[in-house]
């Protein structure tokens, strides 16, 4: 059965365009243009993935509201924030609220499709037991490619897809410098320098939360980043 994707977006043209892209990929799409109708529909039946525009018509923080209520309903439901606002603060709040990803509307449709596909894959992989082939170990780092999860010193580090792909890109060849372009490609998005910087910062912070002395992600100024294996 095809997966059901809900799109909550107040701009009709964008809504329709996204819908067309998803449908082409074979997904079933439900469209909502405001928070309340979406909420009402979700009360009855949850979709398989939700794409939310943060600032919905008439409600500035409507998107955040929706995310909070959705998260309350389901812990695993993949939620993607899509927004024109390029706001660091929003990103942090959004992700704190439990969204899986925070994407700008800059993102190209193919990239969006790839992201959604990855999220579904991950969800499916989480339901399956872990296979040995999907795991990569680098020192204290353990990557599960299928599940797109990361463990450090046996503890799970909750990373967004973007963050996971970045860590994966670096850690696959420890010591190799990955430049921004490579990281961008890995993250399947077009990101500006500052966004990459923010992501790296967030990655570091999440590892440091677990391990104070974490310093495996090294900035090579002017070149990029690399994973240091101790």
């Amino acid at each position: 059965m095809s997966k059901r994707i809900a799109i909550v977006e107040d701009e009709e043209a964008i809504r329709e365009n996204y819908a067309a892209a998803f449908r082409r990929e074979g997904y079933a799409v439900e469209l909502f243009e405001a928070r309340q109708p979406a909420m009402d529909a979700f009360d009855m039946r949850l979709p398989d993935l939700v794409v939310i525009d943060i600032n919905l018509k008439d409600e500035i923080e409507g998107g955040f509201e929706l995310c909070r209520s959705l998260r309350a309903k389901s812990k695993n439901l993949p939620i993607i924030f899509l927004t024109a606002r390029d706001n660091e603060f929003d990103a942090v709040s959004g992700l704190r609220l439990g969204a899986d990803d925070y994407l700008t509307k800059d993102i190209s449709l193919p990239h969006l499709m790839a992201r959604v596909a990855a999220l579904f894959r991950r969800m499916d992989a989480l339901l399956e037991p872990q296979t040995a082939e999907s795991r990569i170990k680098r020192g204290e780092l353990e990557l599960d490619i299928d599940r797109m999860t990361v463990r450090w010193r046996e503890q799970t580090v909750t990373l967004t897809l973007t963050e996971f792909w970045m860590v994966h890109a670096m850690a696959r060849y420890p010591g190799h410098v990955k430049n921004r372009q490579q990281l961008m490609d890995a993250a399947q998005a077009v990101l500006d320098d500052n966004t990459i910087t923010s992501h790296i910062k967030r990655i570091r912070r999440k590892f440091v939360d677990i391990d104070e002395n974490f310093n495996a992600v090294e900035t090579v100024y002017g070149m990029g980043y690399r994973w240091l294996e101790s």
Binding site: E11, A13, E88, D106, S108, L109, Y221, G222, M223
Partner: protein
Amino acid sequence: MLVLPWAGCQFVRETESALRRGQQEFLSGTAQAIADSLSQFPDEFLSGGTDKFNNDQIYGHPLANAPLIDGYFDDWSIGDASLRSLRGANGKIQFVFGTFRQHVFLYIDVRDTSVTYLTPGRLANDVDHVDLLTGDASGELTHYRFTAEAPGAITVVRVSEDGDVVESQFAAHWQDTATGYRIEVRIPRKLIGEDVGIEVHNAGAGTTIVSRSFTRNKPGRYVTKSALLTSFANGYAQPGFRLTITDRAGWRLAQAGGLASALKDHQFSIVPAGWQLIAYRALLEQGQAAALAEPDPSGREKQNYIARALNNEETTSWFRNADTGRAVVAVAQPVWSGNVQTGALILQQDTAAILSLTNESLMRLIALTIIATAGGAFGLLGYASWLSLRIRRLSHAADHALDNANPTMEMPSANAADEVGDLSRSFSSVLQQLAAYNEYLRSLASKLSHELRTPLTIVRSSLENLDHEPLSEQSKEYTERARTGVERLQKILNSMSEANRVEQLMENVESEVFGLSDVIDATTKAYRDAWPERQFLFNAETADDRVDGSPELIVQMLDKLVDNAVDFSKVDDEISIGLSRTGDELILTVENPGPPLPDNMRHRLFESMVSVRTDAGRDNLGLGLNIAKIIAEGHGGSIRGENIDGGVRFTIILPVHQH
């Protein structure tokens, strides 16, 4: 202020003239009074007859002492100027009469090429001799003869029809000279009558040439000073006054008193200083030469003003001594007896008092002028300096505010009520408006980008969907071009919102302490790879380079500057990055050869959406430097750009991290 000295000079001049005139008036009054009382002495005046001057008249000069009868003139108390001249056979004959007490003295110098003495056998008439003729009131003449047998004391004879009689009351001396001979004679006063004359006989080969002091058939009047009038005059004499009384012809009958030379009073300055003389000459009226105020050595006053007085005209005159600056005021008053003018009275007064006053006034004037000028000049200078100081301070503050983009900074003189205050308030207002405009521009970028993102997303996502539809080749081309356009738009929007993002990042930055030179070193290597057609040089002059901040942002800032440096320079140009330290500041410089920064953009270089580039190679919105500035200032530092020889240098100052 310049009028003051001129006015003062005029005032001094006028005052001096006025005082002088006043003195003349006073003198006039006094002269009139004295002249009136002189009317009681008609006889004294008329002693010489009522006739006016003629050349036959002879003056007997009052002498101060009795000369020695030795044939020498140097013990006479009058000078050569008093000598009268006659034309003699062999040249000039000079003679003069003088009186002292009861005697009349005669001195005569005769040019004679061959002096003949009275030798035995010779008649008196055939030798050189001098005759003195004197006539009394009835007209009877007495004839005295001076001849010499030899130089030395000679005997004087009275010539009469009855024979020559020796006059033992005379004392005479004959002196031979190189040019002729001289005779000096002492004559008892009573022997000299009303008229007196001289005859000089020059005996030559066979002939005798006679030179006479009178042209008519009898000798001219003998005039001398009047004792009575002299004592009268003395009664009026005072220091600084000179009284002279003349007869109708102008012969001095009396003189009393004296001018300034007698004054030793310290109250009046003696000899003025050189500069004062210059001042007098420049400022005061000159008048006639002082020498003209002196009594005429001939015994007869010939001055214009005296001559007019002898013509029954009251006159005043004044003279100035060029050497001492002193002026002499003179008044000539006709003297009457009944309805006949008998002579003239001349009253002269020294103006030492006026001069002293003038002096003092002048001194005071000059001092005052100097003080006033100096005071005025200092005042003006002070005021001008203070004013220009205020303006300079204002100008510096305005520059400072512009440089630091701090429009709320208080301008100096902001509360002043004058024009400088107005200027200051205008500056403040302009700066505030500038800041508001800048703020608007800044926010414009992010607002625009925000607004444009949604329609851009619509266009792009539509194009992406279009890709999946069957399209003709031509259509595919069009969509491709559309996509390219969209990508460019996207880049522009991204750079427009970049500044905003950077600001947010700065606010939320998790700062760390890092070594700046390591970061720059690594980045420079990356630049070399990225732009092989430029030379990158990094020179770190300090090892103490720790900064508290975000290394990524510093790199981002450096990226912006290096981007510009690469764009503005040419292939193989050298871009040099320098790091040095002064005090507790790190100085980071990025230099590139290339065109200079335009002067008028100096303050606007780092503002949002201001681009100094004229090329359209990139979609350049002028945001790069704005971001560099945000990052520099976010780290507590500053950035500036300046032109250097042949290129441009950007300098960033960052605070060194203190422990």
